[in-house]
């Protein structure tokens, strides 16, 4: 069990590397808008969801009502529902004691890494380690950003913006290479996502939810059999 936990921590190092600069940026941004430090720290501890925290800071300083901010957060983060449902079918036997902590760690990054593991079953301790290192990196990064209170050169900060996307590509591409069905479904998902975003002008939260549902639905129809996915 301890072994799996450490494996999860190790596998999560790229996630931590991706999180820290973003969390620092979050801390700097919150600080520059005069959000009280304890609020920024508590937001990272309680919410732990990058994009929605940046959005919330923007909405707070624009004077948007708490109800609208919470509703927006719900929409932006609802994709975790799909990830959690997907994980529920792959997770090895897990005690109810650690489940609440596991759930905290259901992020885009931890989900992507664990869901595309070769093994059919995912070890709960592994997932816990994966979640913990990300959670630690996110919160330490937030505090560093608040403490720094100085500006990182804009050009470096800007370049870091690609980090998590590069990680997603690094996870996805080897899978596309190995499977034609996945390649086709990814192409379909790209098409749907671009259409929804550019013609319907929906928010990224809705775009992700709708694209995932439609493209996975099409996948299950075209490739109904288990062996299709690796063939």
């Amino acid at each position: 069990m301890k072994n799996h936990f450490l494996k999860g921590i190790k596998a999560g190092i790229p996630i931590a590397i991706g999180y820290i600069p973003i969390a620092i940026t979050f801390g700097l941004l919150a600080e520059s808008y005069n959000i009280p430090n304890h609020i920024s720290i508590m937001m990272s501890l309680l919410v732990f969801a990058g994009a929605s925290q940046f959005v919330a800071i923007n909405l707070i300083i624009s004077g948007v009502s708490p109800f609208e901010i919470i509703l927006t957060t719900f929409i932006v983060n609802f994709r975790h529902f799909l990830m959690s449902a997907s994980l529920s079918q792959r997770l090895d036997k897990v005690s109810n004691k650690i489940l609440p902590f596991l759930a905290v760690g259901v992020t885009d990054e931890a989900f992507s890494l664990s869901a595309l593991e070769k093994k059919q079953k995912i070890n709960p301790s592994y997932l816990l380690g994966l979640g913990l290192i990300g959670y630690a990196a996110w919160n330490i990064g937030t505090m560093i950003g608040l403490l720094l209170a100085l500006s990182i050169p804009q050009i470096i900060q800007d370049s870091m913006g690609i980090a998590l996307y590069a990680m997603f590509i690094g996870i996805l591409v080897p899978n596309i290479k190995n499977s034609k069905p996945i390649f086709i479904i990814v192409l379909i998902a790209i098409t749907i996502s671009l259409i929804i975003n550019y013609s319907l002008h929906l928010s990224s939260g809705w775009t992700i939810i709708i694209t995932t549902i439609i493209a996975s639905f099409i996948g299950a129809i075209i490739y109904p059999k288990e062996r299709d996915i690796n063939g």
């Binding site: 790229p14 609020i39 708490p66 719900f74 975790h80 529902f81 529920s88 050009i155 671009l194």
Partner: protein, 100 residues
């Protein structure tokens, strides 16, 4: 300023519930084949929609974003460690930013 506490607690609740509910309620349930299949595709489709179109606006200049994207794809094709993919892509964006 009490509003700020209300906001972060509310945000925390609406973010946590979708994370815990499916895990807690569905883990001992066996999905019918079609739904099972649907959820097997979810990691790939969700990753794709996380990448597109967000990556294009992840950095200030779209040219830099495209260079970072191409670098990440090429490096992942060579199956290098994922940290190398991330750092290589950041460097590609940085260099493009300098040249622009």
């Amino acid at each position: 300023m009490d509003n700020l506490w209300l906001i972060i607690i509310g945000m925390g609740i609406v973010t946590y519930l979708p994370r815990i509910f499916p895990l807690a309620l569905l883990k001992d349930m066996k999905f019918p084949p079609f739904l099972k299949r649907f959820f097997e595709f979810v990691p790939y489709t969700i990753l794709t929609s996380l990448i597109f179109p967000g990556i294009l606006t992840s950095v200030e200049h779209i040219e830099a974003a495209v260079m970072g994207f191409i670098t990440a794809i090429l490096l992942s094709l060579f199956r290098v460690n994922i940290i190398v993919v991330v750092l290589g892509s950041i460097i590609a964006v940085y260099i493009t930013n300098i040249l622009l």
